[in-house]
């Protein structure tokens, strides 16, 4: 009986195995990276109806984050300012700037400005801003150096893994309560201490004093 398969096919199984060994990790790795927020969200930088430059307001002018995001310390949701808040200044400042046309439009018609949402948690995640900013976590930990962004973008992945990293090691983010909105703050360095060491030392102290105990194993801390 003639051979059905050619001689070359004897090596086929081993070829398949080797191919598989390369392909499967490659596909897995690609999924791992490209299908996670690290790739899909970081850098998301949509155009806003009014090109509000955070670098000028929060950076150059030194306005506090809480001037506009006024309820961040009391509510779960950090609010976007009402048109009225913008008008507090812009009724006088840069009145003629054409970029502010949508603002005037909104002020006259009473119709809200539709800001494009950049940071968004899924429906089943109950993130609370007030729980963080009142307990030593700065805006910068999750939103990056907004005071240096001309157009705000998604700076951190904000995936669950990323959240848990900090919930397991809160000392890496804790700082004095009066420095929460100071995005450029760095811990005082003693001698030739590195910044990371200084942060760690301070963070551990604060964690102990304030009884910082973020939910790291309790699903219900964030999912209800």
């Amino acid at each position: 009986m003639a051979n059905i398969f050619p001689r070359g096919s004897n090596l086929l199984p081993i070829k398949l195995v080797i191919c598989g060994m390369v392909l499967v990790p490659a596909v897995t790795g690609a999924m791992w990276y490209y299908f996670t927020p690290k790739y899909t969200r970081v850098g998301y930088q949509p155009a806003q109806p009014v090109p509000f430059p955070h670098d000028i307001h929060a950076g150059q002018l030194g306005m506090d984050c809480r001037y506009c995001h006024s309820f961040v310390e009391v509510a779960a949701h950090s609010n976007v300012p009402t048109t009225q808040v913008c008008m507090n200044c812009h009724a006088q400042v840069q009145k003629e700037n054409p970029k502010l046309a949508p603002l005037w439009e909104s002020w006259k018609t009473g119709k809200s400005i539709e800001w494009v949402q950049i940071h968004k948690t899924p429906d089943y995640v109950y993130f609370n801003h007030s729980a963080h900013v009142n307990r030593g976590v700065s805006c910068v930990s999750c939103h990056g150096r907004v005071d240096k962004m001309a157009v705000v973008y998604h700076a951190e992945p904000q995936s669950m893994d990323w959240c848990l990293e900090c919930h397991r090691h809160p000392e890496q983010a804790l700082r004095p309560l009066d420095q929460i909105t100071n995005l450029g703050w760095s811990p005082p360095l003693a001698g030739d201490q590195s910044r990371a060491d200084a942060q760690e030392a301070l963070g551990l102290q604060l964690k102990k004093d304030w009884k910082i105990n973020p939910p790291d194993m309790n699903c219900a801390g964030c999912h209800r």
């Binding site: 309820f71 779960a76 976007v80 009402t82 048109t83 009225q84 800001w115 307990r135 009884k211």
Partner: protein, 1073 residues
């Protein structure tokens, strides 16, 4: 090492606990409910035409199609839309609380309503008001769903054609201009004690003096008012002070349920909080037709047809007259013409003796819908017992009397009425059948109907106007203690509806109010404040005017007037010839029209929460039925089988006929048929359509409560009922689940701290030894010092089921529809298990009753957690058994392993799909929730989707909110402990009797940690070593040892108690441990 528990054979004698007659006879259906989490069929695919195989093929194809476009992978662009101008007090995402009240015929219920971003989402009782003290009943809880009901009336209709508010206002102005002195103008309203409405009524009477004012409530207290007027004088009403009474007799009076309010429940239970062997408690006797929750909690209960209650009252009056040597009472009782009642004379004798023994501290209550003569006799009994001024106090009636519906019907028949204004109510549906209201109303030239729904009464109306919900309108009212309460809107009318005050203001010649101006004026007149602005602000803030409760009035019993009423035979039950109405005879039955604890008089018929919450006693959902006793069922040859299929009978009363399925209900009086009103609506929304049978068709002006002489025919047809009594049955029997003792036994056990902890299997099972150690949970010294726990006091739980609706509202629990309930898929996180108890197989006709709320027990050694393959259900350090919905893949292993059967699975997308189309194939059926329903959801709780397991979370959203609030307030101080009892779970908050306590068991200050250590405390299925966080407190009955049949109560748990009978061998084990 698996330990298999062989439950000891139940002794042939001694008390048995059972849920259904099917359980007693051990039907295969019951075994199915017991042994499987999801009984036969419930876990099957049930996809209609699509088999599992073809489903997989179709799914494969659709996955391939989905793969073709990756557009779905990108996150859609969402917008943040702030206000243009900030709104006072409003913080996005934070709740604001407003005090208001819910107007009902029993008095306005004081409430505090949570609103998120302008949307009311949850109703709670007003904790500052003495009537509510934070509690509500289930109707007030569910009333928020009516606000968002997508079937609500949305449009102004002129002769059935869409119109608008401006056209209506113009037409109304024309109407009022042509009204002259009001001749031919008639108002028909519901019974709300609103001072502003009364004020407008006065203004209308000045402007339109000939206009008539009628108030009609199908379940109103007209007869009680009449009786009080006769017995104590016009303008006075008797009000019981239940908390002062040592011995209470409820004669067909469901004062803990449909006939009472939360204040009555609290007053009663305040005397039943038994702690320590020296404690005293009140004693309740109940004489009633069907089992009510009042009868369920009673220490002694006698079942008697409603028509014989009068006879019983007379017999009792004779006994008391003799015992108290009161000749007047004796004469009055003997003069009364009541049907002879048949009962054990010893029963009434001992009852009389007990009442007389606690003279001045006893209380007899008569059902408010019993004939006035019966109520007058009861007033006489109270007078003879010296209770007047002690446990019965007087109160002035604040409203002027209104015309009766019968008089209005006469005017309509005589064509005297040209314009009929109906505000609220639904007379076409619920007026007595002999009035033939539909035809009368059709004969009126102009009918202006202001209603919540386009219902039966709107069909032929000239104008239909959407009535604003009470959460949408300004108003006021009087609570049941007579205090002045506010009604304030949380939201503008969703569909531009008018409130009753808006319409009446127009008739009073005032402009349509745009705000609270009418109420402000009334408030100024009622409160006469020195500083109006401050007083008004305080009134709205508190929700009521301080110290405005009605002052007690002295009552004097008018024996002469009472005798006149009783001898005149004005009792509607008495036929015209004056002879006593016949007792239910052999083939003649009595039909009792009962108030439904769920849909009330029919107004909540389209409320899905109330349709689906099981009746507290019968556990019937989505229907009403003719309740009959097992004996009567046998005589008729009808049954309700284990799957809930019921025989349909035809009931005829004076040529009026209805066909209705029967529901055999233990504890019902023989020869009597009870039918809940409020079902069988013909013009109602999608929820209420097709539910139940309209019993108003049998109800006449002469027999508003019960009709005698009914004949019954078995039709041979059958109807499927959705009854939940066998759903979620637990392994373990009797004392494993509910434990009880008499007060005497409790006192005897004073030295034995383990008395209640060693009953049932717990008396036999060897001590638990754990081979494994759990990760440590929080202790009082931990950084997070909290540990959550709950107690449920079976001694004060009446089974009213308000907790079930409160939980549904708080936790976004969907309704599933009748078909799904039949399959055992109802989603309630907390259910109320109702057990009957009887001596062996005897007394099935007259069992005792225990209600037991059952929710996730948050076991520290939770069986559900160990079987989850994806760690979707895990334990938190503060002792919660938490569910991560986004992790759950729906294997349902956890539910199968839960000994308490408290886990609920989303078999379908109940939130997104129409209940009638649940079985349609997923990809082709319409999805999406009605917009209005979305507004009412709690924003702090995930709305679950298909394929996800869920269960009680101990209101984890409230726990987290409290934790965060504490941390936000304390910031860097390090005081992270939540103050004791700073918040509570939804079920504990709503409970009118305070039976449920929730809180931090690590905090010695908290209420729960104090209740938890009670001697009455026990945990369910302790022998399984699940180590649950919920402690039940055993029920204590306080029987009168001289009563006939008491020995049965006394013998209650003895057979289940380890101390009297040891079954060491029975605690068998399945291996060497």
């Amino acid at each position: 090492m698996k330990r298999i528990f062989q439950h000891p054979e139940e002794p042939a004698t001694g008390k048995k606990y059972w849920r259904s007659l099917g359980q007693l006879s051990g039907t295969p259906e019951f075994k199915g409910w017991l042994e499987r989490e999801f009984p036969q069929g419930a876990a099957e695919f049930n996809g209609g035409d699509v088999s599992r195989r073809s489903f997989l093929q179709l799914m494969g194809a659709s996955m391939a199609l989905a793969g073709l476009s990756f557009a779905g992978c990108r996150r859609p662009e969402k917008h943040l839309v702030p206000f243009t101008r900030g709104v006072e007090w409003s913080i996005p995402g934070k709740a604001l609380f407003f005090a208001t009240s819910y107007p009902t015929r029993k008095g306005a219920a004081p409430l505090v309503v949570a609103t998120y971003d302008g949307r009311p989402t949850k109703i709670e009782g007003n904790p500052a008001h003495p009537v509510s003290k934070g509690a509500t009943d289930l109707l007030a809880q569910a009333s928020i769903l009516d606000l968002y009901d997508p079937d609500r009336s949305r449009f102004f209709l002129e002769k059935g054609k869409p119109s608008d508010t401006a056209t209506f206002e113009k037409a109304l102005d024309e109407l009022i201009k042509g009204a002259g002195d009001g001749t031919g103008l008639a108002f028909l309203l519901e019974d709300h004690a609103s001072p502003t409405r009364e004020r407008l009524r006065g203004l209308i009477a000045q402007k339109l003096p000939k206009a008539t004012w009628t108030v009609y409530e199908p379940l109103g207290s007209d007869l009680a008012d009449e009786a009080d007027g006769v017995a104590f004088g016009e303008g006075l009403a008797a009000a019981p002070t239940i908390e002062k009474a040592d011995v209470i007799l409820a004669l067909d009076h469901d004062f803990l349920g449909t006939d009472g309010d939360v204040a009555a429940s609290r007053a009663f239970s305040s005397r039943r909080k038994v702690e320590g062997p020296d404690s005293k408690m009140n004693r309740l006797y109940a004489v009633e037709t069907r089992y009510t929750i009042t009868g369920g909690i009673a220490d002694h209960r006698l079942r008697l047809p409603a028509s014989q209650i009068g006879g019983f009252a007379a017999a009792l009056a004779v006994e008391i007259g003799a015992a108290a040597k009161d000749a007047g009472l004796d004469a009055l009782a003997r003069a009364a013409k009541f049907a002879t009642a048949s009962f054990d004379p010893q029963w009434v004798k001992e009852l009389a003796a007990d009442l007389v023994a606690s003279k001045g501290k006893s209380l007899v209550l008569a059902g408010p819908r019993q004939p006035a003569a019966v109520q007058v006799v009861v007033a006489a009994i109270n007078a003879a017992l010296g209770n007047i001024g002690q446990t019965v106090t007087g109160r002035k009636v604040s409203e002027k009397p209104a015309q009766s519906l019968v008089q209005l019907a006469r005017d309509l028949a005589d064509k005297k009425v040209k314009t009929l204004v109906i505000i609220g109510g639904n007379p076409v549906y619920n007026a007595p059948a002999d009035l033939d209201w539909a035809n009368l109303q059709a004969g009126v030239p102009t009918v202006v109907r202001v209603g919540h729904y386009e219902d039966e009464s709107s069909v032929n109306a000239t104008w239909h106007v959407p009535l604003a919900h009470y959460l949408e309108s300004w108003g006021d009212g009087r609570a049941s203690d007579g205090s002045y309460v506010s009604v304030q809107p949380m939201i503008l009318p969703l569909y531009g509806g008018w409130s009753d005050l808006d319409v009446l203001a127009k008739f009073a010649g005032l402009p349509k109010p745009t705000g609270p101006e009418l109420v402000r004026e009334t408030f100024a007149a009622v409160a006469k404040p020195a500083d109006f602005v401050t007083a008004w602000a305080k009134f709205l803030h508190d929700g009521f005017l301080e110290a405005s409760a009605a002052l007690p009035e002295a009552l004097t019993f008018n024996a002469a007037a009472a005798t006149k009423l009783v001898t005149a035979g004005t009792a509607p039950a008495a036929p015209a010839n004056g002879s006593a109405p016949a007792a239910p005879a052999n083939d003649s039955y009595e039909v009792v029209f009962i108030a439904c604890p769920k849909v009330d008089d029919g107004r909540f018929n389209n409320n899905g929460w109330l349709q689906e919450v099981p009746d507290p006693i019968t556990k019937l959902t989505w229907d009403n039925a003719a309740l009959i006793s097992p004996k009567t069922a046998k005589k008729l040859g009808v049954e309700t089988d284990e799957r809930g299929t019921a025989d349909i009978i035809e009931i005829s009363v004076e040529k009026r006929t209805i066909q209705i399925p029967v529901l055999v209900s233990p504890g019902h009086a023989d020869g009597s048929i009870s039918i809940a009103l409020g079902y069988g609506r013909t013009s109602v929304g999608r929820i209420g359509g097709g539910t139940g049978v309209n019993a108003y068709q049998l109800r006449t002006t002469t027999a508003p409560y019960f009709a005698v002489g009914a004949s019954v025919r078995v039709t041979g047809k059958r109807h499927q009922l959705a009854i939940t009594q066998e759903h979620g049955v637990l392994e373990g029997r009797g004392a494993d689940l509910t434990r009880e003792a008499t007060l005497g036994e409790y006192k005897e056990s004073r030295d034995d701290k383990t008395y209640f902890k060693t009953m049932g299997m717990d008396a036999h099972a060897p001590k638990n030894v754990s081979l494994y150690t759990n990760p440590p949970l929080n202790t009082a010294e931990s950084i997070d010092p909290h540990a959550w726990g709950m107690t449920v006091d079976l001694n004060t739980c009446t089974g009213c089921s308000a907790c079930m609706v409160a939980c549904q509202a708080e936790n976004n629990i969907p309704i599933v529809g009748k078909r799904q309930v039949i399959d055992g898929r109802e989603m309630h996180w907390i259910r109320t298990d109702r057990y009957f108890a009887s001596e062996g197989d005897k007394d099935l006709d007259d069992p005792e009753l225990v209600s037991q709320p059952m929710m996730c027990q948050h076991c520290e050694n939770a069986p559900c957690e160990t079987v989850c393959p994806v760690n979707a259900t895990v334990h938190s350090q503060d002792g919660l058994n938490v569910m991560a919905y986004n992790r759950c893949i729906g294997t349902r292993y956890c539910a199968n392993n839960c000994p308490f059967k408290v886990r609920r699975f989303n078999f379908f997308d109940y939130n997104e799909r129409k209940l009638t189309e649940l079985r349609k194939w997923n990809l082709i059926s319409e999805r999406g929730m009605e917009d209005s329903l979305k507004l009412g959801k709690n924003p702090n709780v995930t709305v679950r989707m298909r394929g996800v397991m869920e269960k009680c979370t101990f209101c984890v959203q409230r726990i987290q909110e409290a934790k965060i609030a504490t941390k936000v307030a304390e910031r860097d101080s390090g005081k992270v402990r939540i103050p004791a009892d700073a918040f509570t779970s939804a079920c504990a908050q709503v409970c009118p009797t305070g039976a449920i306590t929730f809180g931090d068991i690590n905090n010695p200050e908290s209420a729960v940690s104090k209740v938890r250590v009670s001697e009455r405390g026990y945990r369910l299925l302790e022998y399984l070593n699940v180590n649950s966080r919920v402690t039940y407190l055993a029920r204590i009955r306080n029987p009168n040892m001289k009563m006939p049949g008491t020995e049965k109560i006394g013998a209650a748990m003895k057979s289940h108690h380890g101390h009297s009978e040891k079954h060491e061998a029975a605690g068998a084990t399945g291996g060497g441990h």
